[in-house]
Subunit: 403 residues, 2 copies
């Protein structure tokens, strides 16, 4: 089902939809036969909601496929993550809250070490410390011809670089040879419109090399590699596509960035706790039809392999559920963008427990929210991108398809 087809069926309504995303929600037992993080957590409010909901397991992209946050979120937002892609440079840039305009180009960079012949000897420059990386990045931000170039450290050697100005193009080759022992490649225009871009970027790389050389103390990094030039993705904007005034409530920049990329209005959050996000939800309740509320800590605990902390955070969110229910939303989705089992200390391919609540949902009557409960639910195992059409239908925002 493509988005154009879905868009044509959209009708206006006054209903409100809340999509509560606990990042990396899905988990695994620590021992065979044990319970997952979500199954271990004591969640009376989510369990009661589950009893009135349809349950299922969502698959972000495909069976066995582990996703990063970008495609994970595009899926739950209703976009096919294999069709709609966000370049890594763009994701890094929006993740840093850099101001990326429609004609700007973003690219991912990293500091590296080259030897006297110019060949790369360490593509990560010994994972240069954050502080030094940030100092270098400030030094390297510059202007070439009429193009402003902003260099920002993501972490250690990893950089997000944004180019702003007239006549840019993302159609140029990378400089990263992707292997040690080779010299960085000159950047080449891949079509005639990109000649200026190639000239500017090659000049920027030369100037960067000289600037790093002049810098003391000598850093482990003495060169810069670039890959993945990309411009702002032109996605059908979420609010127009689905006919909703859409707000995003998230503390972490990456998620604020992804929401902004699809056209949601990103609301400011004072504080960084889950409770602070629920306060923003309450305050803005009357002004939007769709709320995306993102909890990051579940994922961080999973990444750290901290099973108990992930359980605690889920329980904390559960205690906040009465505040959400008090707003009386027409449709509630509780899910994650992917699984992050503590047992794996990282993202995983496991389908994500998902709950769909609403007055017209055909409830399964399963009074528990967990991986196995969701595996028995009537939503079955479904692509994450199918959640949005289901939410819209249950919010009575889709017309009948006649022919």
């Amino acid at each position: 089902m493509d988005l154009k087809f879905l868009h044509e069926l959209i009708i206006p309504a006054h209903s409100k939809i809340v999509m509560l995303i606990m990042d990396g929600l899905g988990g695994l037992p620590l021992e065979p036969g044990g319970k997952t993080e979500l199954e271990t957590a004591v969640t009376p409010n989510l369990d009661a909601l589950a009893a009135l909901s349809a349950l299922g397991l969502t698959v972000p992209v495909g069976p066995g496929i582990t996703v990063e946050s970008g495609p994970g979120h595009l899926g739950i937002f209703g976009y096919d993550p294999l069709q709609y892609r966000i370049g890594r440079g763009v994701l890094e840039a929006v993740g840093l809250d850099l101001d990326l305009g429609p004609s700007d180009v973003a690219v991912r960079g990293n500091y590296c070490s080259v030897d006297a012949t110019g060949a790369v000897v360490d593509r990560r420059a010994g994972r240069i410390p954050n502080d030094m990386s940030k100092e270098l990045s400030k030094l390297l931000s510059t202007r070439v011809e009429d193009i402003e170039i902003q260099v920002e450290t993501v972490r250690e050697h990893r950089l997000a670089i944004v180019l702003r100005g007239p006549g840019l193009s993302a159609d140029i080759s990378d400089s990263d040879p992707l292997k040690n022992g080779y010299r960085p490649l000159p950047l080449r225009a891949l079509n005639p419109d990109a000649e200026k871009m190639a000239r500017v970027v090659n000049q920027f790389v030369d100037r960067s090399r000289q600037a790093i050389e002049a810098y003391t103390p000598k850093p482990p990094a003495n060169m810069l590699l670039l890959r993945g030039f990309d411009s702002y993705p032109h996605f059908p904007a979420f609010p127009e596509l689905f006919g909703v005034r859409a707000a995003a409530i998230a503390v972490y920049p990456t998620y604020r960035g992804i929401a902004k990329l699809v056209g949601m209005q990103v609301l400011p959050v004072e504080g960084s706790k889950a409770a602070d996000e629920f306060t923003v939800l309450e305050k803005n309740w009357n002004d939007f039809d769709f709320f995306y509320l993102h909890i990051k800590e579940t994922d961080l605990a999973g990444e750290d392999g901290d099973f108990a902390r992930k359980v605690d955070i889920i329980e904390e969110v559960d205690t906040l559920m009465p505040r959400l229910m008090a707003l009386n939303p027409d449709v509630i989705i509780v899910s994650g963008d992917h699984s992050t089992p503590a047992a794996l200390k990282g993202h995983s391919w496991h389908p994500v427990p998902t709950l769909l609540y609403g007055r017209y949902v055909r409830a399964d009557g399963i009074a528990g929210f967990g991986e196995r409960a969701c595996g028995r639910g009537s939503l079955g195992i479904l692509p994450a991108k199918d959640i949005m059409p289901l939410a819209l239908a249950n919010a009575l925002r889709l017309a009948k398809f006649s022919a």
Copy 2:
């Protein structure tokens, strides 16, 4: 799986398949935690059959998508409703049992009111009464050049118009401006082959306007709008496609029409009760391999919001099941074309409870036929169009796929 692939695997057999469609079968509880219409109905015969069947929930077009009867039926007949579409004019025409040939063109019309300047002031002509609408339609049916034009009232202002004769084309623009305050548009040929069509239809519209003007008493309608020209859809015919002699048993014209469109033989039904349809099934048992038997009243009760009546009709059908079982069909499908919950007083997006019975079905052993029972069934949640291949396989009518 496309139909061509499926068709190539068809092998002859003597087995018989019965597809019993209760229109709008799927429902919703009236209260949270309650039972649906089907779950409320006392259906000992369907429950016993369910115990020997595989159960599942069928999705007519896609998650969250509510369908009209046209796409709903194409799905259960094995056609992808997004690929095979029936124009609204054609559906109205076949719904009225008008004789629509392969080279005829059908269009949807409506009576409207225009002011002295010719601008439309009411696109529905105040929902003109049926009797007056029918009188006007008789008056307007005419012949222009060598083209016969049949005008039939569907209901109130709504018309089905069929054009018959040589050199017709559906490639002409609409006259309906779709908004009040605008004059009806002249009909234009969209390609050179449609010049004659445009000339004939413009002449028909002129003549209609004059005829209505001459009519007394002055009707609220004084003009005619046309939209959605379409010719008979050229679907792969069901009997050849699936290698079955296929019969349709339905009382309502729309369903007789859809069955006819896909090439089934539509059997006459004396009386209008479900029992009368079962009698037709019995009488014609030896002459066909596939029977589509359609019960309309479940949908009507749902549309009326009459939960109890929908329950009653399901129970009535249940009492007839022994007559079906006595014929000893090889494969039985019991399903619906979509859901029509009384709670929503209309069609809905909810998956449809479906039962597949046959000697070689891997039965789930769930002795109940209802939405939640089907949600636990081994067919899972499946596209409606997958039911036909499953029925054919269980009727041993599909060869092995080797390469």
